[in-house]
Every structure is written in C-alpha cells, then in structure tokens.
C-alpha cells in the first residue's frame, strides 16, 4: 500500500442526552387510546379480571410521560451518538463476523408479521418450507444430519449441546462417571460456561507456541471421566489446528462426545466440515456467518446440528417433510425439551436462508476465501506498524482473523490497547474487540475484515491504527486523553458490584438517592 490514506476529520454529535425518565412531564401523552363502546365494555368487563391475580400489579408502573415528537427526538439523539455497524468500518469487532446484512432480506423477513406460530400447520407451510430447506443447506455445509434452530444465540447453542451431552451419557448410565468437559483457553468462554451451567467440571487446556494445545496435553486430560470436548477451530487467534481429527479421535477413544463451536466458520465455510473431522455436533451463528443482523444481543440464532446418533435428544419440534407436506415433529422420545418458545427467531432464518440462496454454493466458498485474503492483507498492513506484534505460529498463515498485541508499544511508550481503543473512535472507527478474558496475549486486539469489507476499508482501518501508533511515540498525551471527538469521554470502567455506589434501575436510583418510594 503506497498511496496516502486521508484520515477523516470525524466528530460525533454530542447531545448530553438525559435518561428518558428525566424527560418525563406529568400528564403528557403520546397516544390517547380510544374508549371502547358501551356494549363491548358491558360484555367484556374489566381487563383486570383476565390477568391471573398473582401477576397483577399492585401499583401503577412509573412509565415516563412524553408526547411522540419528544420520544422520537430522544431516540434519534441516542442513535446519532452511536457509532453503529452501518456507520463505520466495523472490522473492529473481531470474532463477531460483522458482515453486511442485505436490506432486501429485511423486507422479506417483515412478511412474517402476518403469521402466528399457533396457526394450523396447513396455513404456515411457507415458513416451514423455509426452515426445512435452511436445515438442508446447513446439513450440506456441516455434514451433520439434523438441525434445530431454537437456540437464540451461540452460548444458547453450546448450552443446548451441554444438555444433550448430559442426556446422552445419562441414557448410557455413565453420567455420574463422566462429569468432565474439556475445552481450550482460546475457545469462546461459553464453551467453559455452558457445560459448567449444565453441571460439568471443565478442564481448560493452554495453548503452546503453535497457538493451540499440544495433543499430548489433550490426551492427558482425557479419561473415563470425560463427557466430551467443546472446541472452536480456528480459535480467536485465527490459527487452524491441523490435527483436529486426532483431537476428536482422542476424545472418542475414551468414550466422550465432540462438539465443534463454529462461531468462527467464516474462514472455512464450504471448505472444511465438522463431519469429516469426526465431530458429533456443531453450531453456527446465523447472525454472524450467515448475514442476519447482529441486533445487539438479539434476535439471533445458534443453529445447532448433530449426527444421527444424537438426533433423538434434540429439542422439539423439528420440521419434517413427507414429500408433500411439511410437519412439526414433536416425536423425539429422548428430547431434552424445548430451549426456546415456538420455533425460534424466525426472521433470522428467513434472512439467513435468503442470503445462502443469493450466494449459492460457489458464493459461500468465495466468501470464505475473500475473508481469508482480506485478513492476511490487513495483517501485513498492521504488522508494519511500529509497536504491533503477533504471538504464536510464526510463519504460519492465519484464516479469518488474527489476535495482535500492542505489547511492544506499551513497553516503548506506556500506551497500551485500552488507550488505543479510546483514541480510534476519534477517527470514526468503532473501538476494536481486544480479547476474551483473561488476557493471554498481552495488550491484545482482534480485528476481523470479513468478505464484505473492501481493500480500501482495510487500508483505512490500518491507517487509523498507524496514526495512533505514531501519536503514541511522538505525542502520547493525545492518546492518553482520548477520546476527543466522541459523544462522551472515557467511561468509568469499575465493576458495578457496589450497591452503595450504583443503582441498576431508575427506581432503585430514586430510592437510594432521592428517597422516593418506588
């Protein structure tokens, strides 16, 4: 890259927007709900009689009272202050796979507003067809035999897997003995948290200089107590474990199950499959790899698929097809039960399905390849910046993301990853994802330039970090005191664990600090 990148002179709007509760004016209303007609009131009676008595409020809710223009203005202000995905080059959110969500799919998905999940199956054949065909697509991409779309996100999918592992071993009478799940330090933290929540003890393996755990270490962790392995590959460092089949075999040899957390699918999609590595189950984040919007904690979907052996344990219903009609199949006798209401987040399925169809099988492979090329291009640009280093797997190619380190910058200048994070928003780029906790790579940052970012996008992103590095070496105060052009200044990053100091709701705040009843 030789051409000069012009860094934007960005400034965020600053509204000093109060909490909506503070904007409340007693008596203001946005909508006056019309009264029902006398005959209807007489026939129907009080609304309160339809609500179970133990669910009835004893006091009125203290909703803020505003008219419509004031409400709109408030939320527009907040939206303006948010450096959202569509506003900036969101390469920053590594491991999230922030790819473009086609607008046309929003319009397609909005059509489900007319439908209710309790409708007769005969009247929702269209939705069921979409779910069924999405299932078939994901089976092809993964090699698994059956999918469920109930889990509402990745951690939900890994928890579903933990419950299925539990049910499987329970059915074989081995659950008491098999109380350990193995995972790795660089797998997603939910691969540790979910099995623990399901009652397992979790053994974490540390990476060696290659960036993934030694096979000998894995074998040392395997025993008759092993319920299974839950692993990400490539891990958040972008390093692919080339011996993954041997890992799976080691766990199978002691009678454990293997689950493939495919949050990081984007770099291997259409190229490598869970089945060929020997996995018993896997999950995909439809809101990551399959373009459904991330939606800030939802709606999302952790599509979870298994081999035939684990199918009997899946949550019900499953969508089946008899050659003529689509059905909701509740007949899985060993099912762990429902993990979510109804069928899951249907609008997410529609968007993912539409995206898969629009890409086609060749398009999916191309997306994976483009993301790997983008990542390696960005990596070259970033490693040329003074202060940036990369740990592990020297000389090996990474896939769709890399975990970098500002450790050299920190030692040379005292400026570390947190300071860089605060400064980058001054250039119109969202703060990057550092790493999950605990940090193993010191002063980390993890960008992910997936396939919908252009070469110019990668160059701009790298140019911003190059600028900040230059500032750290020549004028560190400007980095230390950043952000300068954002909507707010530095956040107080204390843990919110002192009830004397913090209130978690407006009501609690009033009670604690203004002695109001509520």
């Amino acid at each position: 890259m030789t051409k000069d990148i012009k860094i934007r002179n960005y400034h965020a709007p600053v509204w000093s927007e109060p909490i909506i509760m503070e904007l409340s004016q007693k008596g203001q209303r946005g909508i006056l709900v019309p009264q029902s007609e006398k005959e209807i009131k007489k026939q129907v009676g009080q609304a309160s009689q339809y609500i179970p008595s133990d669910m009835q409020r004893r006091e009125l809710p203290q909703l803020p009272e505003l008219a419509q223009p004031q409400v709109i203005r408030h939320y527009e202000h907040l939206a303006q202050q948010t450096l959202g995905m569509e506003m900036n080059i969101d390469i920053s959110q590594g491991t999230c796979t922030m790819k473009y969500s086609p607008k046309v799919n929003e319009i397609l998905a909005s059509k489900i507003q007319e439908i209710h999940p309790y409708q007769d199956v005969d009247t929702i054949q269209g939705i069921l067809e979409i779910i069924y065909k999405l299932d078939l697509c994901l089976r092809e991409i993964s090699g698994m035999d059956q999918f469920t779309f109930q889990p509402g996100g990745g951690a939900h999918a890994t928890f579903t897997n933990s419950c299925i592992m539990r049910a499987y071993h329970d059915m074989n009478g081995e659950l008491a003995q098999r109380n350990e799940v193995i995972t790795t330090m660089f797998s997603h933290p939910c691969d540790t948290a979910s099995p623990r929540t399901a009652g397992f003890k979790v053994i974490t393996l540390m990476p060696d200089e290659n960036g993934y755990p030694d096979l000998e270490a894995l074998k040392a962790a395997c025993s008759k107590h092993t319920a299974g392995l839950m692993i990400t590959n490539p891990e958040d460092t972008g390093i692919y474990n080339p011996k993954i089949e041997e890992y799976v075999k080691a766990v199978h040899d002691v009678g454990g199950l293997c689950f493939y957390d495919q949050a990081n699918l984007n770099g291997v999609m259409g190229i490598a499959r869970a089945k060929e590595a020997g996995f018993d189950a896997c999950h995909f984040n439809l809101h990551k790899t399959f373009s459904s919007p991330h939606g800030c904690m939802g709606p999302a979907c952790g599509a979870y698929g298994t081999t035939k052996a684990l199918e009997p344990f899946l949550p019900t219903p499953i969508v089946s097809f008899d050659g003529g009609k689509y059905h909701l199949d509740y007949n899985l006798p060993n099912s762990i039960g429902k993990v979510r209401e109804f069928f899951g987040n249907v609008e997410v399925f529609i968007k993912s399905f539409a995206w898969i169809l629009s890409m086609g099988p060749d398009g999916l492979v191309e997306a994976a390849q483009a993301s790997v090329i983008n990542n390696n291009y960005l990596s070259k640009l970033l490693l040329a910046i003074p202060g940036v280093v990369k740990h592990y797997a020297e000389g090996k190619v990474r896939l769709d993301q890399v975990r970098f380190s500002w450790e050299k910058l920190k030692e040379d200048t005292g400026i570390g990853t947190e300071e860089v994070q605060n400064r980058m928003v001054d250039f119109g780029i969202q703060s990057y994802h550092t790493s999950h906790h605990p940090y193993i790579v010191p002063e980390p940052f993890t960008p992910e330039p997936c396939e919908t970012y252009s070469k110019e996008d990668c160059e701009y992103w790298a140019a911003v970090l190059k600028q900040i590095s230059h500032e750290a070496y020549t004028n560190p105060e400007i980095v230390r005191n950043a952000p300068h052009n954002s909507s707010i200044h530095k956040l107080n990053k204390e843990n919110l664990d002192n009830p004397e100091k913090w209130a978690m709701t407006w009501r609690a705040y009033q009670r604690k600090w203004k002695n109001k009843i509520g």
């Binding site: 491991t95 060696d208 605990p438």
Partner: protein, 374 residues
Amino acid sequence: MKKKLGLIVNPIAGIGGRVGLKGSDGPIILQKAIELNAKSESPERAIEALKRLVDIKEEIELITYPYQMGEEEAKIAGFCPRVIGQIKRNETTANDTQKAALAMLDLKVDLILFSGGDGTARDIYQAIHKSLPVLGIPSGVKIHSAVYATSPKNAGNLAYLYLKENTKKMQIGEAEVMDIDEEAFRNNRLSAKLYGYLKVPYEKNLLQGGKTGSSPSEDSEVEAIASEVINLMEKDYLYIIGSGTTIQPIMKKLGLTNTLLGVDAIYNFKLIGSDLNENEILTLMKGKKTKIIVTIIGGQGYIFGRGNQQISSNVIKKVGKENILVVATKSKIISLRNKPLLVDTGEEKINQMLSGYIKVITGINERMLVKIDY
C-alpha cells in the same frame, strides 16, 4: 496535592551475576565482585524505569537517598529529586536500604519504587512490611520474589499508571518476598525461604461493556477457589496446607488461623498443627490418609522447593501425586507465559514422580491443565 514517589536503588544489586558469584550479600563477596571488575546493572535499570515517568515529573515529588542510592539515577533521568538521609558514598549496605524505606514511610510516600533483587526486597520488607505499596525494578541476580515488574520499562509504566490514575486502573495485591540462602547456593545447595508479603500494585485488565463483558476481580476468583477446595475436602483425611496468597482465603473461610509463611495441618475441618516442620508433618501423618494443598509461590512458578521445604520429598513420597491439590488463579498461570510449574524436592525420583500434567484448581468446577517440570 502532589503524589510522592519514593526511589531506592541498591547500587550493587546484580553485581555478582555476570561474574558468577550468585549474589552480592555481604562485604566479602562484594569485594570479590569488584576485584573481578564486575559492574552492577541496577543503576542503569533504575534510570530506564524512571525515564517512563519523566512525563509527569512536575506532578509528582520524587524522594530518594543520596548518591547512587537514587539521587544520581534520578538526575540522569531528568528529575530534580528531594534527597533525604545520609550514606557513605560507594559503601552502601542493607541497613541503608532499610533506613531509606523507613524514612519514606515516615514521609507517607504513595509508592516506593526500588531497584534490586530478592535481597533488596527482603530488606524493604523487614523495614516496612505491608505498610506501603512497593514495586520492584528487576535488577538482582536472584529474582524469586513476585514483587517485580516484568522489565525496567514496565516497572516505570506501572508506576506511572499508579501515580496518575491510581485506583481506577490499578489494584493492590500481595506478593511473596523470597530469599535464597546465598552461602548454600554457592555450594550448590538450594534453600529458599518465604520471608513475607509486600503490597504491590498491579494493573487490572478492565474491560466492561461491548462484546467482552466484565472480568471477575482477582478477589472473587480466589474466593471461588477457596469454596471449591472446601467442597472437595473429605472427612478423615489429613490436609497439609502450604503457604501463599491463594491459600489464605481457604483458611479464612474455614475460620482457622493461618500461618502466612508456614505450613499448617487440618483434620476434619479443625486446625491440628501450625507452622510445622518436616518431622512434625510426618508425625501427624502416621496412620492417616493425607492430601497436600499448595499453590504457586514466588515469580518463578515453583509449587515445591521454594518456601515450603517442610513439605519434603519424604512427605510427598508418602502422599502420592494423586493426593496433591494445586490451586492458582488463571491469571497467575497465564503469567508464567507457557513455562511449566516447577518442583525441586531435593530428590530426583520424587521430582520425576511429580512431573507431567496436573489439573490445577482455578475455580468452582474449573480446572486448568498445566505441565510440571523440574
């Protein structure tokens, strides 16, 4: 109100290293080192650390001892230090280090930055114990204490953060002060003692909100480990409890008096021995099934052989590897940077028995697989 930084440089720390003298405690050894044309690295390293603080030199008051115990280093780095105390130029002793620390405690400095090795750390500990936060610039020959930054530059960075932003980014923890008997070391015998704990600031890896969520505090991790250990404790088993900051909460949760620097014994949740030596441990073990609970002591990753020799090879032999529980926080294990845990029981066969992999207890239903070596 200006923050006060105390600076103590041990000008002879590290002098024994390059010429193979394994330390510099004592005038005879020092004389030998000088004869061998040895040069101490301590002053240079102190300057390297101080350079990191030059940006805030107007905002802090740097208080130090005369000549090479800090005055010269501070001036070279660009400071105008306040010089206190009296020493004989070119003839400094451990006594001077202690007097300096006490004087700085009197002046209520916010942090003592010291340059030296384990011996220097021990001197500071003897003078002020845990009354002030201190931070070591690594410059000694033998660095087994856990009170040091990873490099002189990082010592400066940490001091900068502590003085500038204080509690927002930093936390104070306790770190082990170790010392190795130099005489024995020179005769190829290793005998390490756990001297005590100093208060040391460390950087919290804060990150809230966004994708990462918040990380549990060190305190809650250590509490969780204590809960897990207590859950695992069985009736009619003797537990030999080592020392270390991660072990303390276990004893506290059980309501038992803990020997901070020594080995205790618990049986059926009652304290049946305090500050035990090897023979006392072996006596208590007679006729009882026994387990050992230890943690990582010092900055080198030792679980046996540095600071808990009372848990000797004889004791370990009788207990067996499968009855040894190792506890540590994830951050402590990560700070070893892929190096294994170390054992030095004095007996090769026992070292071999202990080596291999072990599941370290890092929390409730949480284990980390770590390698042990010798």
